[in-house]
Amino acid sequence: MPSSAVIWLSATVAGIVSETPRVRTLELDVPGWPGHRAGQHLDVRLTAEDGYQAQRSYSIASAPDDGVALTVERLDDGEVSPYLVDEAREGDQVEVRGPIGGYFVWDGEEPDPVLLVAGGSGVVPLMAMARHRARAGSPAPMRLLFSSRTLEDVIYREELDELGSRGDGFEVVHTLTLEQPSGWTGYSRRIDRDLLAEVAWPASESPRVYVCGATRFVDAAADGLLELGYDARWIRTERFGATGS
């Protein structure tokens, strides 16, 4: 167990990518960042001119060894996320502390198939895993089942299309739960046992599973996988509530 403290570091916004109308990615320049594992998160601290501070945790979107990028969804009653999504510009400074968490991580060293199940912005730590797999050339088959409300709400859509078209064992399956464009060939319903039965690896392959999204989404996905014979120990979850950011 490392004894060194996780210290606050100054971070500068070095790049901004608008992902959807409610979501954007901040690429941070963080001198002294110790590196992270795919799936970990960090704490962000904002300080106002009068010294008032607010802190929140965010999943890291970037692969290990590829800088520090956060993808943040604006929560309308939030305190930190509206600043990060609407206000922050290149050159602005925040503080970060991390990486945090040693359980919801995938290091890409095991050959077992990986199932990623994402609801909305729950895709962020799973994207770090997909990016890590692509960069590291891991041979582990990986399948992402991604539930969004509409096509416009699909975070990382182009990059996921590109990763899925490489034919290297990464697949992405979308479901749009609120509205589908004409000619939509993906799924159009909430994730349940039947949808998982069509998409998930058979239980006989003992897959590793990472589920991230809102509480009810995560419970529906995890319960469905248990019904399909998955062992509870294969399923790692990360949840966010109605508030949180």
Partner: protein
């Protein structure tokens, strides 16, 4: 000091003597769990204390026949939300430990789903900790740890282990699940003991 240009904040900090540093108030009750939600029927549920002179175990009916209390406390999650004046019903850990002869200094709470968390007995005794089975006048929901969870409100909420099934008494402090995954061994929110080294 690093100033974030244009940040003002919403300043919902609440009473400073009740909201620890770095926390914000919420009226919701967010859920954090590392795996699927277990659904253990009370007919199959027991609560055990191991590591004393003799192992002790209660069935659900035995447990519910113990004296219980209704109490109102503030809770603080390491992910930064705090919730004030939450109302619980439960059995004091003092009542449970009274049934066991021991000279241990620490305990590990164990749970359905495999979760564990470690605590000094000092933090579990003296009317500071409960095994709670009711929340806000209703049976505790599975997503919040029902049928019963540990409740240690003066420490970060990961110490209040959901789906708790017993305590293992120990001579030494033995890191539990989150304590082995980067989180502080004790977790006092007023000292901001969030992570290793804090």
């Amino acid at each position: 000091m690093v100033i974030s240009r244009g940040f003002r904040g919403r300043r919902r900090d609440g009473p400073p003597d009740r909201v620890p540093p770095g926390q914000y108030l919420t009226d919701d009750f967010p859920v954090l769990s590392a795996g699927p939600t277990p659904h253990t029927p009370v007919e199959e549920w027991t609560f055990s204390i191991e590591g004393g002179a003799e192992p002790v175990s209660w069935t659900w009916d035995d447990f519910r026949a113990l004296p219980s209390e209704t109490f109102t406390v503030d809770i603080h999650c390491v992910t930064r939300w705090s919730k004030l004046d939450t109302v619980w019903e439960g059995v004091s850990v003092d009542t449970l430990l009274d049934a066991v002869e021991h000279d241990a200094a620490y305990a590990v709470a164990f749970c359905d789903g495999g979760y564990t968390t470690n605590l000094p007995l000092e933090d579990l005794t003296g009317g500071k900790a409960w095994v709670a089975f009711g929340y806000d006048g209703l049976p505790l929901e599975p997503e919040h740890g029902g049928p019963a969870r540990l409740l240690v409100p003066h420490l970060y909420f990961w110490k209040s282990a959901k789906w708790v099934r017993g305590l293992g008494l120990r001579d030494e402090d033995e890191p539990g699940f989150w304590e082995s995954n980067g989180y502080h061994l004790r977790g006092d929110p007023w000292l901001e003991q969030r992570y290793w080294g804090d």
